[in-house]
Amino acid sequence: MLQTAERGATRKSKAPPHERYLEAFRWMLLTRVLEEKLASLYRGGLITGGVYIGRGQEAVSAACGMFLQKGDVFAPLIRDQAGRSAFGEPLVDVARTYLGSRLGPMRGRDGNIHRGSVKTGQLAMISHLGAMIPVVVGKLLAKRMKGEKGFVGLTTIGEGGMQTGATHEGMNIAAVEHVPLVIVATNNHYAYSTPNDRQFACSDLVDRAKGYGYEGSSVDGTDLTQCLEVIGAAVRRARAGRPPQLVVASTLRLAGHGEHDDASYVTDDIRREAFAQDALQRTEQLIVEQELLNREGLQHMRAQIAAEVDEAVATAQQEDAPVGSEEDWCAISTRELVDHVN
């Protein structure tokens, strides 16, 4: 759908499903099940801090994770569980972080959606939107300097986050450095409670691509086949040395901003738009229609996933929380340079 994408087109994909369609579906389903579990733990008061889920964006996110290889850089944001899982994040990392186990990748120092780890090649985001983009650029630049080859970096952003100065500077510097970067921007039509018309005034955010020297593509984020094709192609182009890629996906956030938010500001009109379809439902429907999996197959997958999620949660729940009095209160790694301020 490079440049010439039909915007908002929601016709049924005519093409046969992408070869990795089923795998993607599994990541999507895993995400849905996991996030519903997290939401229910949150409602039960068992999670401290916020829970932000990717409901409606699972197709986009799964595709983001699936085309990355070992050695690639992935900087996910708050609605990227599917991509995180697809790129290899163990479920127990998720559970440990949310449930405050001291064994989680952030050791209780940072929480929930801010997790990341060297082991999984996933950067731990800071909250300030757009700030991770130049960090990915720097990693890619360094890899090139070190003589590595064939790598890409992928990071995600929302239509709201695209309006930060950090995003602009990061997108531009990536193009100047000609690093193999893919930015997948999801316009889910809300940034917290703010609709598009108070966020930007261009007719389509993919129009930003040209102004940075990126190649731009649009994708219906509720259509998994398209997501796999378009994001897969963008990753391939970046890997082949083309300029940075901007993919703009269209969806509706099918949840509150976080689980504390009832999203009552989402209008009925917008819920009737084509981009408001549930990507997971659409995918499942196609799977059933095209008989990629039969009922039992589906049921089996569901049961397996539920068991995996439950196990991860159960593991984390048994683990100890970090203990304040044992904490190593030292912000830098060079211990002899710690400032002894009283």
Binding site: T164, Y192, S193, V323, G324, W329, A331, D339
Partner: protein, 322 residues
């Protein structure tokens, strides 16, 4: 009827929008039925059409726009969603708002509301206390209301001030603090308040830590020690006179703050007392701040990271023993 700290902020804004047509509010997610991440503007967009405006996620431009509007005669209030995101707007705040009047004689009456300070589980990027950072630079007034009453009157005063004001409202106090009614009296901006008189030790503090200090004072009172608690209210200007008068009474000083330990409000207060009131001190002054690491997410860590009644009490005991 009772009114929370958060409601006081909303009421102050209602009052301001009603009484002064130059006032408008600018920020993320503050409009519509939604009324802000913390609901500080709930209902205001409907009540005052066109004067409570949602912005893109562009902190730098939010403040830049407010500066322009203020120079043109308006009285914008900018709501940051969290104080921590004001790092993005820091250049506009310090270098544009803070220098405007001095350079051009054009007053720049913006009020930037910073939902500040730690709460359980908020982590490194939703918990910061930035008053020390803003106070370091010239040209700004920096306020840290600690009570429902102050939250109300100081916000109204902030908007009336012809200069840029950084108004640090503490998120922990939003719901935890209640008063019977909105205040009918006020202390002017720039004056600290002796919240509790004492004769043995002055605890000088601000914002949420005022309440921890009061708890300690209460507890020590049972043992016969009378701790005086001074709520700075405004950290720039800082009411050195009231602080010195307190130290003159007690001879002992403990400064407590929730911010990071290097520099900031507690260092400034101690520097003032040491330089201007050295002979009033009967013992070494002391300070207690958060630890010198990012603010941790996990409640177990967070509660050790910041000062609290227990650690304040321990410090107080030390000083009293000297």
């Amino acid at each position: 009827m009772s009114v929370t700290y958060l409601e006081a902020i909303r009421e102050a804004q209602t009052h301001l929008l009603r009484e002064d047509e130059r006032v408008f509010i600018y920020g993320q997610d503050i409009a519509g039925k939604f009324g802000g991440a913390f609901k500080a503007t709930k209902g205001l967009a409907e009540q005052f059409p066109g004067r409570v405006l949602n912005t893109p996620i562009s902190e730098d431009a939010m403040v830049g726009t407010a500066i322009g509007a203020a120079m043109e005669g308006m009285r914008p209030i900018v709501e940051m969603q969290f104080a921590d995101f004001s790092s993005i707007a820091l250049n506009q705040i310090l270098n544009n708002a803070g220098t405007q009047y001095w350079r051009t004689k054009v007053p720049c009456p913006i009020t930037v509301r910073l939902p500040s300070g730690g709460t359980k589980g908020s982590g490194p990027f939703h918990s910061q206390s930035m008053e020390g950072l803003y106070s370091h630079y010239p040209g700004l007034v920096v306020l840290t209301p600690a009570t429902v009453e102050d939250a109300y009157t100081m916000l109204i005063d902030a908007v009336a001030i012809d200069d840029p004001v950084i108004y640090c409202e503490h998120k922990y106090l939003y719901y935890h603090l209640k008063a019977d009614a909105l205040p009918t009296e006020k202390l002017p901006i720039g004056k600290a308040r002796v919240v509790r008189p004492g004769r043995d030790l002055s605890i000088v503090t601000n914002s949420v830590m005022v309440h921890e200090a009061l708890a300690v004072a209460q507890q020590f009172s049972a043992d016969g020690f009378e701790i005086e608690v001074v709520d700075l209210r405004s950290v720039k200007p800082l009411d050195t006179d009231t602080v010195l008068a307190s130290v003159a009474r007690t001879g002992r000083l403990l400064c407590v703050g929730e911010a990071f330990p290097w520099g900031g409000v507690t260092a400034e207060v101690i520097a003032r007392v040491a330089t201007e009131g050295f002979h009033l001190l009967d013992a070494a002054p002391a300070r207690l701040n958060a630890k010198d690491t990012p603010i941790p997410y996990h409640p177990n860590l967070w509660s050790e990271h910041r000062p609290n009644a227990k650690t304040i009490a321990a410090k107080a005991r030390q000083i009293l023993a000297e």
